[in-house]
């Protein structure tokens, strides 16, 4: 279990992490989602005591990390794929880490086996690919068989097989009752891996909820309706207080009503419907909606807006957002 309370980190005038309060529960995979530069890595470094918080506290398994007498058995952390001396072999790196806790060679061999590092264990880390570096990082995180795992972008640089392996591994570990805290800027990865997500943008907490709830919030109740009598239908629905937008002739996107209610209303008015589809919103859409105002490095704001066309921009349940987004509402 990880408990952050008012966690803040400032570097001079720049606030990397701003008053974050959240709890990561055991027994499930918690995703830590946010754009690059959102403060994910800084937060994770503070959890394991590498960076000192400017304000606030963070406890792991009930104590500050540095207060644990066997930290590697409490928390395993993959913070930086190459937090390893490049001139040392993978096996020697693990042996040195294990030595601090008196963990034996057998466990070192186990984690090497488990992470598929066997063929390169006696090679120096400097020559490792990013993927091999990630596997070594995961191996050192697993050394102490810890109750809590913190993995910063673990699938970075892994091949598809490796991605699948990490996905299954973290689910398996959470299934054993461990706390798994996994950061990523890839929503698609979170959607299939995490049970719960903590979303951050520019150092601030934007959401802390189950994946389904995040998706549900963003989805609102948007329904796609196709009708040969789109004009009268639009008028009818507007009178019922629903928001209607139209992107092509005969196609309406209705927000605020359920598909059955719309279908019934149309039937009552004698309007034929050719399509009536509740719009499925992916975690990706929800994420983009949540972080739209909080992306540190905007490439093209229009591109992000276009992807949100299906989502309700004015949803009152959006947490954390300060400025209303307007692009999609103006369509």
């Amino acid at each position: 279990m990880i408990q952050a309370q008012g966690l803040t980190k400032r570097y001079g005038a720049k606030t990397a992490v701003d008053d974050m309060t959240f709890t990561v529960q055991p027994g499930r995979v918690t995703g830590f989602l946010g754009p690059n530069g959102a403060g994910k890595s800084t937060t994770m470094r503070m959890v394991v005591g590498l960076d000192r918080p400017t304000a606030g506290t963070v406890l792991v398994n009930g104590r500050r990390y540095a207060e644990h007498r066997a930290p590697l058995q409490e928390v395993g952390a993959l913070l930086d794929a190459k937090a390893v001396h490049t001139g040392r072999t993978a096996q020697n790196h693990l042996l040195a880490m294990a030595a601090t806790h008196g963990i034996g060679r057998r466990r070192v061999d186990e984690v090497i086996e488990m992470t598929g590092l066997g063929p390169v264990a006696r090679k120096r880390v400097g020559g490792f690919s990013l993927g091999m570096g990630q596997r070594l990082g995961i191996a050192s995180a697993m050394l102490g068989d810890p109750a809590t795992l913190i993995l910063d972008e673990p699938v970075n640089g892994l091949d598809p097989e490796g991605v699948l392996w990490v996905r299954n591994l973290v689910k398996h570990l959470a299934g054993q009752g461990r706390t798994v805290f996994l950061s990523s800027h890839l929503m698609s990865e979170m959607a299939v891996t995490a049970d719960h997500v903590v979303v951050v943008g520019r150092g601030r907490l934007l959401a802390d909820a189950p994946v389904q709830e995040i998706v549900g919030r963003a989805a609102g109740t948007t329904v796609r309706v196709r009708s040969p009598q789109a004009g009268p239908l639009e008028e009818l629905l507007r009178r019922q207080g629903l928001a209607v937008t139209s992107t092509e002739r005969g196609l309406l996107e209705v927000t605020g009503g359920s598909a059955p209610a719309i279908g019934d209303a149309a039937a009552a008015a004698g309007i034929a419907l050719h399509e009536l589809t509740p719009v499925h919103v992916s975690l990706e859409d929800a994420y983009l909606q949540l972080t739209a105002d909080d992306v540190e490095y905007h490439a093209d704001p229009g591109a992000a807006g276009a992807r949100r066309a299906a989502a309700d921009p004015d949803s009152p349940t959006r947490p954390g957002a300060t400025a209303p987004t307007t692009e999609s509402a103006l369509r």
């Binding site: 590498l50 007498r69 930290p71 913070l79 390893v84 068989d145």
Partner: protein, 288 residues
């Protein structure tokens, strides 16, 4: 420390937890020893130090033996220890660099994040590094002297040099050389931990040993004269000198102090303590 203590397993964990292994100082030392011997650069540095010492000592002994009798530099009935110390000015540079690299490579490679994740209190790591470095450097000093004794053996008789370890001064000088090298390597460790950059720390410690101390020795201003005897290497090296050498140094210095060999070494250790103490305070405060 007991390793039998157990913690409550997290709820729902199916796997039985293995015995809890606490971080203890001996374990941190063991880890630092693994780290020290599993990197090529440190192993090479140690070998280079020994080779340089033995090589220079042998060459110097040969050169002295070639000097005509009565010429300056001919030691007469010198102690063999003098023959074993010719290479120390070279060796001190290498062990200073070794001390710096022991800590700065942690930062340049990112290893420090793994290190401090395993030992979040951090200070045991610095202490363990200092201990490993001390033992290794002391051993390097002793081994270099032992090997040099063998390689200079052919010259002992012609130089009239003898070795009598029951003699107080001889024993002090024989132990003084490895002790001096230890203190130099710890200076390197201290600067490395303070500056966290290989280039910066090496420049600082080598600059101190080669430039700063010599400048202080030579500039005929009161301030320099007063301070000079208390600079780390100037003071610490006295533990390796014999009585005539100490007297000559004192006569050259315009200062009024004359530190005994052990006082001089104490001054050097005080420098080391201040450096490492400052480094320790910063180590706790700074982000890794």
């Amino acid at each position: 420390m007991s390793t039998l203590a157990t913690t409550t397993p997290a709820a729902g964990r199916s796997a039985a937890r293995p015995a809890v292994h606490h971080v203890t100082f001996p374990r941190v030392v063991a880890a630092e020893w693994v780290k020290f011997r599993t990197v090529r650069s440190t192993v090479w540095t140690v070998l280079v130090t020994i080779a340089a010492m033995v090589g220079i000592n042998t060459l110097a002994a040969w050169a002295i033996s070639m000097a005509p009798d009565g010429a300056e530099g001919a030691p007469g009935t010198a102690s063999v220890v003098t023959l074993l110390a010719s290479g120390v000015s070279m060796a001190q540079l290498v062990v200073a660099v070794l001390g710096v690299l022991t800590v700065t490579t942690e930062y340049t490679t990112g290893m420090v994040r793994s290190t401090f994740a395993a030992v979040p209190r951090r200070l045991p790591t610095l202490a363990a590094k200092a201990l490993v470095l001390t033992v290794v450097t002391f051993a390097v000093g002793l081994i270099s002297m032992a090997l040099s004794y063998v390689t200079t053996l052919p010259f002992h008789e012609s130089l009239g040099a003898t070795l009598d370890l029951s003699d107080g001064e001889t024993l002090r000088r024989a132990l003084g050389l490895p002790l001096y090298l230890v203190a130099v390597s710890l200076l390197g460790l201290g600067f490395g931990a303070l500056l966290r950059s290989s280039a910066g720390a090496i420049a600082t410690v080598v600059g101190l040993l080669l430039v700063v101390e010599n400048v202080f020795l030579l500039v005929p201003l009161r301030f320099f004269e007063v301070v000079s005897p208390f600079l780390p290497a100037t003071a610490g090296a006295r533990i390796m000198h014999d009585a005539p050498m100490l007297a000559m140094l004192d006569s050259m210095s315009a200062g009024d102090v004359s530190l005994t060999p052990w006082q001089g070494y104490g001054v050097m250790l005080a420098w080391v303590a201040v450096l490492l103490g400052t480094a320790a305070v910063l180590l706790r405060r700074r982000d890794a």
